[in-house]
Each structure stands twice: as structure tokens, then as C-alpha cells.
Amino acid sequence: MVAMAASDLSRLIAAVADTIAAHADELTALDQAIGDGDHGLNMKRGFEAVRAEADTFAAKPLPEALKAIGTKLVMTVGGASGPLFGTLFMALGKEISAEPDRAGLTIAFGKAIEAVAARGKSQIGQKTMLDVLQPVHEALAEGKTAAEIVAVADRAAQATVPMKALRGRASFLGDRSIGHMDAGARSTALLVRAVAETIERHA
């Protein structure tokens, strides 16, 4: 991976915001099944706010841009997803270099996942976004292609269906949370797809 130009970051922001907007209703439906039903709207509001300031973010060095995007998500998403996705970006910005290679990205991503786990007091296997982040991190570390990483993320989100939720509003439902995909896992897989496909297309 070479240095990320401002236009690349703008393109990534647009791709992510487009993807979240296109799937907002689906995310809301998933969240309505076992949560409070605000996930799609919350995520859309957050990423539209990021899109509105995309030029400002893209003008910054990558670490500062990611931290600023994370802060914006914290302030605009409005549910527990705000701090969780915000922390993912803020921690990634804190750990990553201005011009990361794949190894650097992998290490920074791993640390960002740890920060999300700490923020949510959660761990893998509890039917959360971590259940997608962790396999994606492994795929990154194993040198998988963008297409393979996207497939890993989709499978991982699908794999939350039979899980019983142990964190978040869905955990109130106990066994009744089984049989539904976790909305945060799905939105995480969508983010991974948007980022991986955009980078692949413009590599």
C-alpha cells in the first residue's frame, strides 16, 4: 500500500457513506428484530456527517484524519454505535503511520479492535461487531486478497445469526436473540466491503 492521497481518502469516505446509506433500512430492520431499531438511521446520520466534511478530513495526514472521523462519529451517531465505531477509527488513527504498509495497517487494526473491545467491555463470540473485526484482522494478517477479505467479513456477519447475544440491547432477549444477524456485525461487514473494494479498484 502506498501513501494515501487526499483524493483516495475522499473516495473511501464517499464509498462508505454510500454503502451505509444504501443499507440503512436493512440495518434498521436487523436492529428492530433484536435491538432498539435505530442502528441504520444512526449510522447513516454519522457517516453523512463525515461525508459533509470529507474534504477537511482528506486534507489531514491519515492518522489525524482517522482520529477526526472517529470523533465526528462519536458526536453524531447517537447510540452505543457512536463510541464503538468512533473508537475503532480514533484508535486506528492513533496507532497507524501516515503511510502504512500492509504490516503496519494490520498491527494498527489489531490494536483498534482491542480498543473497541475495551470500550464495549466485550469479546469475540458475544454477537457483536467484534465477531466480524477479528476474522477480518486475521485475513489481513494472512495476506488474503481484498475479495477474500470481503468474503470473510460477510461470512463472519452471517455467523452471528446462530449466536446468542451477550452484550447490548439484544442480550436482554437471551435465547430469542438466536436466529438473527447482529446489526453491528452487518454494518461492520459493509464497511469492510466498501473500503476493500474501493482500495482494490484504485490500487
Binding site: 435505530d38 458526536m75 452505543a80 457512536g82
Partner: protein
């Protein structure tokens, strides 16, 4: 004011305001008190920005105890404390207690001049370990 401040964070502005009313009935103006509720866009939820504002409003050098309702309120409150940063962050505690009972009990304790640690301990006694 040197008494510990109390912040109430609910997903619902009605719950937050109602809880604050109950606290006021108990302690009057002896305790710095602030509440926030809703996602800032007219819906249910919690807002980091609003929580930070409530902490500022109820700020006391003796510290601030935050009472929350559901998980997202806790996560957003912890985020708000982190964004307020040190040195004040170490004087702010998100309590593990039922929001209404916790707020009333914590404020009552605070109104007697109790330390942050004592106020938080009083709230925590309401939650089974």
C-alpha cells in the same frame, strides 16, 4: 459548591427530567445537578455532546457521579468522560446503579457533603454484585 455533582443520563429526556425532579425534591439546590436524554435529533438515545454539557453544568471540584439507564447511556457516558480528559476525568464516575433510585440515593448522600467515593458506593449498594 463543594458537594459532589450528579448527572442523569437517560435514553429518554422525559425519564431524565423526571428523575432530576425527584432528586430536587430530596435535596433542593444543595447538589449540582444536570440531566440529559435523547439522541439530540428528537429521538430516543444518548448524545456524547449532551453528556459532556451536563457534566460541565453539574461540575464540582468534589467530583461528579453519573447515573445511566441502558447500555448505550453507559458507553456514551464513558466516552464523554474520556473526551473531557484529565485531570477532571478522574473525578467523574459512571455508576452501576438503577437510574432513579441511584440518582436519589447518590444525591442524598452528596447533599451531606460525602466524598465522591462515598456517593458512588451508596449508589452501587443498590446493584446486586
Amino acid at each position: 459548591m463543594s458537594n459532589v455533582g450528579i448527572v442523569i443520563v437517560s435514553h429518554s429526556p422525559l425519564v431524565a427530567e423526571g428523575t432530576a425532579d425527584m432528586v430536587r425534591q430530596m435535596v433542593g439546590d444543595e447538589v449540582p445537578l444536570a440531566w440529559c436524554g435523547g439522541n439530540g435529533h428528537g429521538g430516543l438515545g444518548t448524545s456524547v455532546e449532551a453528556i459532556m454539557g451536563a457534566i460541565e453544568k453539574a461540575w464540582s471540584e468534589a467530583g461528579v457521579a453519573i447515573l445511566v439507564d441502558l447500555g448505550g447511556a453507559e458507553t456514551n457516558s464513558e466516552m464523554a468522560v474520556e473526551m473531557i480528559g484529565e485531570p477532571r476525568a478522574q473525578k467523574i464516575v459512571v455508576c452501576n446503579a438503577p437510574i432513579v433510585e441511584g440518582a436519589v440515593m447518590a444525591a442524598t448522600e452528596a447533599s451531606g457533603g460525602a466524598s465522591l467515593k462515598e456517593v458512588v458506593a451508596t449508589a452501587h449498594e443498590l446493584s446486586p454484585a
